[in-house]
Symmetry: none
Subunit: 535 residues, 2 copies
């Protein structure tokens, strides 16, 4: 199938990872996390990024201020989420509505009740006042120059209970100037035939442009989203990796993959689909959840074949055993027993880093073997480009780039009888032919180690002074042994201009951090143009 239409306003890919996705149990996003995810989503090419509910909490308010100031959006428009005005007051007088305008977002999604019992029991107002609330708020925001989408909460349950009222809400939103009215399966209990029937009926009866927002409680959110498109919806609300409350939301990735590859409908910018696997994994890293190995299209197992019966036939024609070419979504076919890194991806990665591995099949093979060996031990290079580049350079140049040698280190964390904490570290390193011993204090043992290393080396490598650790993530691997497990640390370092990420794996968090710190400084010095001195 080909995707020959251009991406335009006729179909909306609307992402709500930052708002509804954040409702997932276990996700707790900082403003910095939200900014990083927004960059990934814009990079991927979604049309709309719903960032949160400005005014509802200080974090969301800060996010909008910073996103609009700091992100140069290439594809997406930023969307603020909020509610219709309160009962009995003017939209212009409602501080909640004012906060939506104050956010500066060019697009606003208003959540509206469309289920009669919810109006009465949760909103505690009359059915007529609810319609007026929808009309007034949409009109007011339109007058203030904003584009407005209306999310009809609990629409499908409401439609079952009182179809005329549910449609009246859609009409009120549509006639007041909402560009899209989104039918939400908030409780997630629908199945595709019902969704398609309701969407096509409501479209015919109201004339409104419709969208779909599906929760995954029946395990059918992707299919329900596509059924709504079959019924006439031209706006799909999804979340990256299907994050969301309870079971989750319709997963952005299989939805756009189905639209592009199965429907032949271009809904993302050219080339975006091939970034899908990378973007999915990158967002999982930011929210600090292990990427699902069995996620459709993007999971590491999604194109993994347990050979046997099929092996020889796959060699003849892999298309006989795969519903799509995995490269279309940036994934790769794997024959099991072999591990994650294949030759092709190492070559590609080398090219991406500006290291030409040329036709040296033996060199590429060596790198693949080392990556496999290290990934088996818990390393991950997907999120640690700088460590991967150091590994690659070591294989290309025959020895690791090194600016200092570690003799030993020690970190002490202490809680004193008076309740104060003390953290102190000592490092003994060799650099420039000299043995240096340095001690420093910090907020914690890793911070103390970081500072001690800086104290030791700053005189020889003054460039180190501007390196700053900007993110630090810890994950315990082989989950069921508590503090005796293997620990993986991912560190992001900045020199003020660029950021780079490094990885360390060891039996405890301090030793793993030390490895990642050493990689971080080594990479930073290489990047600053300093020549490695030690061997």
């Amino acid at each position: 199938m080909t995707t020959d239409q251009p991406v335009d306003d006729s179909f909306h890919v609307f992402d709500t990872t930052l708002r509804d996705g954040a409702q997932r149990e276990g996700i707790n996003l900082t403003v910095a996390d939200k900014l990083t995810i927004a960059r990934h989503l814009d990079d991927f090419g979604v049309g709309f990024i719903e960032g949160g509910w400005p005014g509802a909490n200080p974090r969301d308010t800060e996010f909008f201020a910073r996103a609009l100031a700091e992100i140069d959006f290439q594809h997406a428009q930023l969307v603020a989420f909020g509610a219709t005005r309160r009962a009995g007051i003017r939209a212009a007088d409602d501080p909640q509505v004012k906060a939506l305008l104050d956010s500066g977002a060019p697009v606003i999604t208003l959540v509206a009740k469309s289920h009669d019992r919810h109006v009465e029991l949760a909103l505690r107002t009359t059915l007529d006042e609810n319609l007026a609330m929808v009309r007034d708020t949409v009109q007011y925001l339109r007058e203030q120059g904003r584009r407005v989408f209306v999310d009809c909460e609990h629409f499908f349950d409401g439609y079952r209970a009182n179809p005329e009222y549910a449609k009246a809400v859609v009409r009120a939103a549509h006639e007041a100037g909402a560009d899209v009215v989104v039918l939400c399966d908030t409780n997630g209990g629908m199945l595709p035939p019902q969704v398609q029937a309701v969407v096509s009926t409501v479209a015919a009866d109201t004339g409104a442009r419709l969208g779909i927002h599906a929760q995954d409680d029946t395990g059918c959110a992707v299919a329900n989203t596509l059924a709504a498109v079959d019924g006439g919806a031209t706006h799909v609300q999804c979340t990256a990796n299907g994050y969301g409350e309870r079971v989750g939301n319709a997963n952005l990735f299989p939805v756009v993959a189905a639209l592009e590859l199965k429907y032949g409908r271009r809904v993302l910018p050219e080339g975006s689909l091939a970034e899908m696997t990378r973007i999915s994994h990158a967002i999982a890293e930011v929210v600090n959840l292990t990427p699902s190995t069995h996620q459709p299209y993007v999971g590491v197992s999604a194109f993994a074949h347990k050979a046997g019966l099929h092996a020889s036939a796959i060699k003849v024609d892999p298309d006989l055993y795969q519903h799509i070419d995995p490269e279309l979504v940036g994934n790769t076919m794997r024959m099991l027993v072999s591990d994650m890194a294949g030759r092709a991806s190492v070559e590609l990665k080398g090219k991406e880093l500006g290291i030409d591995l040329g036709d040296d099949r033996e060199l590429v093979g060596r790198v693949v073997d080392r990556v496999k060996d290290r990934e088996l031990r818990g390393y991950t290079y997907e999120a640690a480009d700088a460590s991967f580049e150091l590994l690659l350079r070591e294989e290309v140049e025959g020895r690791p780039p090194r600016f200092f040698r570690t003799e030993s280190w020690r970190a002490i964390a202490e809680d004193r009888p008076d309740g104060s904490h003390a953290n102190e570290a000592t490092v003994k390193v060799w650099a420039d032919g000299e043995r240096i011993v340095a001690t420093a204090e910090g907020n914690g043992p890793v911070n103390a180690l970081d500072r001690a290393l800086l104290v030791a080396l700053e005189r020889i490598y003054p460039q180190m002074a501007k390196f700053e650790l900007v993110d630090y993530k810890v994950r315990i691997l082989e989950g069921r042994h508590g503090t005796e497990s293997t620990t993986r640390v991912l560190i992001t370092t900045s020199d003020g201009d660029a950021e780079w990420s490094t990885v360390g794996v060891a039996e405890n968090v301090i030793a793993a951090s030390w490895q990642a710190l050493v990689d971080a400084y080594t990479y930073g010095l290489l990047k600053a143009g300093v020549r490695p001195t030690e061997s």
Copy 2:
């Protein structure tokens, strides 16, 4: 909806966890595992259990022998899976076919090619000979007194390529005496409308009784299975928890839940559905995979509510916010305590923990304020029920439950010149009126602290010996300041029977771990019925 029909042969719930499910990357079942899973599936009430391919490997042969001898099946019939006879020989002369009979299984599923290119490229025979192979093998097994189902592999892709040939295979199987012809979406690339259309056309054109076997590569396997039922299929092949090759198979649990609760069709024995959550988790334990927290119907998050917005309305009427009553599938509603939550969710949470906050609005207000204040500082209670319960008890009882007091602690992590690591911790605590100083080593500083605390207190609280840290998560908060940030540690502890989670937040990972450890031991001792001694 009610499910008023009895379970009979008119609809088949066919489970293939032991055959196709075992193809999942990371699953490797022993015969004992397979026997245990078969018991769970029979207990759950599926009609058919496909146990493997007898003759293909010794493990599957042994499984059939032992399952028929050892399991007193209450609901299920055991099914052996195998292939049609080889090209050019009689079915009676094919040792592979003989092994199917030798297994003793009363029902046999034969896999048959129905895609013309697969016949030519993978089977390397003619289209006519393939039809003869289907006919002969079915007839022969029927003559031997077995019930036969035929799985048409790659049916949907085959139907697209050559519909007449695909249907000829269905007719051959049907006319030779197969009770059900199962249409397989082997590559998993289909979407529900296609599946429904193909199934209803094939049913009309061939007159065969049809089944469906769907893989989940588009994320639509559950919906595809239901679409096939809508198209006339009366036999669904699924796997527990959706285990299977690549992304996986249609998940048994949401399929039967939809059929019973949404279609009102009785497909399992009375009372089975309420065992679904337990059975799902039990099978996950046997295959040694962590149960998916976000699996529809049965995940621990499937009925977990986070949004404060909804909590007050949930108190009025939980049905407004849930697509089904979780007890129907043996699950429970949970309120997550988070900064988005207010009074209503704290009250509901108290009730869940068996602590009646009654009408004490002032008490509830105090708890809400403390939760908000602590969440602002980085704590999260949604993933740390035990810490939340300790906080609640402190507010209800006026003082924190305490078994010991910490005077001080110190942890040392060291990397020695010879490359070896040393980790040592000393704790000074007061318990039972006594000052105790203890030192221990560990794999890392937190492990050493954990052990030192155990050494110090085990004599006074022998119950502590069976507490084990089973999971440990670290998150750096306010992400953009590296190792100087606030650190949050979540610890899960087990006493062999139950697990509980606690949280600690501090400026470094060791201090945060200490807090979470103290909560973990305090909660565990309370749970073991020990009375707090310190104040």
